[in-house]
Amino acid sequence: MSQATELAAAAGSTDPRVGLRAVRALRRLLERLEVVQVDNARRQGWSWQEIADTLEVSRQAVHKKHAGRPAVNSSWEA
């Protein structure tokens, strides 16, 4: 079995525990990625509206979720 089909097989595992656990982990990862990317956008001067448009959510939703965080660390230069 090629690697791709092995992965496809795992992704299609019929054991709900395997699948749901993966969804949960994915959600955790997603939440963190969103924090990283929203902070980066803000550092680069994006408005909440621009961020919201790109994420295809409302400006209020993005603002409510991310505006309360302490100021992002901008010392890192990529």
Binding site: L7, A8, A10, A11, S13, V18, G19, R21, A22, R24, A25, L26, R28, L29, E31, R32, L33, E34, V35, V36, D39, N40, K65, H66, G68, R69, N73, W76, A78
Partner: protein
């Protein structure tokens, strides 16, 4: 709520509090109750667990896998789950750190989601689930017509609740929860 607990069972609860304290600012979870039960080596619960092939250090390691966080702030168990659907968490961490600096993902802690309409957990010493386990241990004792709540009833509570991290690591270590429940009841009958 602890009036009916035997001295042994009280010690187990105390040890669970200690387990949670050592781990940091966390309320007592079902996994702490389970680890505390195992530490009480002479107790009925820990003897049944040992007979069923459960080892304390193995369970402790499994709990750590679920609670400890790696480079992404996600646990090893999360990484394994993502691997199951073809996602290489390490590769994602490497790519993000390359762009945004070391520990960028680990430090990106999402704010806790507010759930309106649900009463907020005010951080007593016990998690809602472990509180449920303690309530169920009382119910198990009543069902078995026992006047006191011992370590074995706490274990039955963990098994009856069935969804906590305690029950999860037991299942992971290859234990069948129903079989374990039968073993506890058998041991109780033998002791009676």
């Amino acid at each position: 709520m602890f009036e009916r607990f035997t001295d042994r069972a009280r010690d187990v609860v105390r040890r669970a509090l200690e387990e949670a304290r050592v781990e940091g600012q966390r309320p007592v979870g079902t996994e702490h109750l389970l680890l505390a039960l195992l530490a009480d080596e002479a107790g009925l619960a820990s003897r049944v667990l040992a007979d069923a092939g459960v080892r304390a250090d193995d369970l402790r390691e499994r709990v750590r896998r679920h609670t400890a966080s790696g480079g992404a702030g996600l646990g090893d168990a999360d990484a394994a789950a993502l691997r199951e659907i073809g996602i290489d968490l390490a590769a994602i961490v490497a790519r993000i750190e390359q762009s945004f600096g070391p520990d960028a993902l680990r430090e990106a802690v999402p704010a806790p989601r507010r759930r309106w309409g649900r009463r907020r957990y005010l951080g007593g010493p016990f998690s809602p689930r472990s509180k449920k386990v303690l309530e169920l241990s009382l119910r198990e004792a009543l069902r078995l017509r026992h006047r006191h709540i011992g370590t074995e009833h706490i274990l039955l509570g963990v098994l009856r609740e069935g969804n906590g991290l305690g029950a999860l690591v037991l299942t992971e270590s290859g234990v069948d929860l129903d079989d374990l429940r039968r073993r506890v009841e058998l041991a109780l009958r033998a002791a009676a």
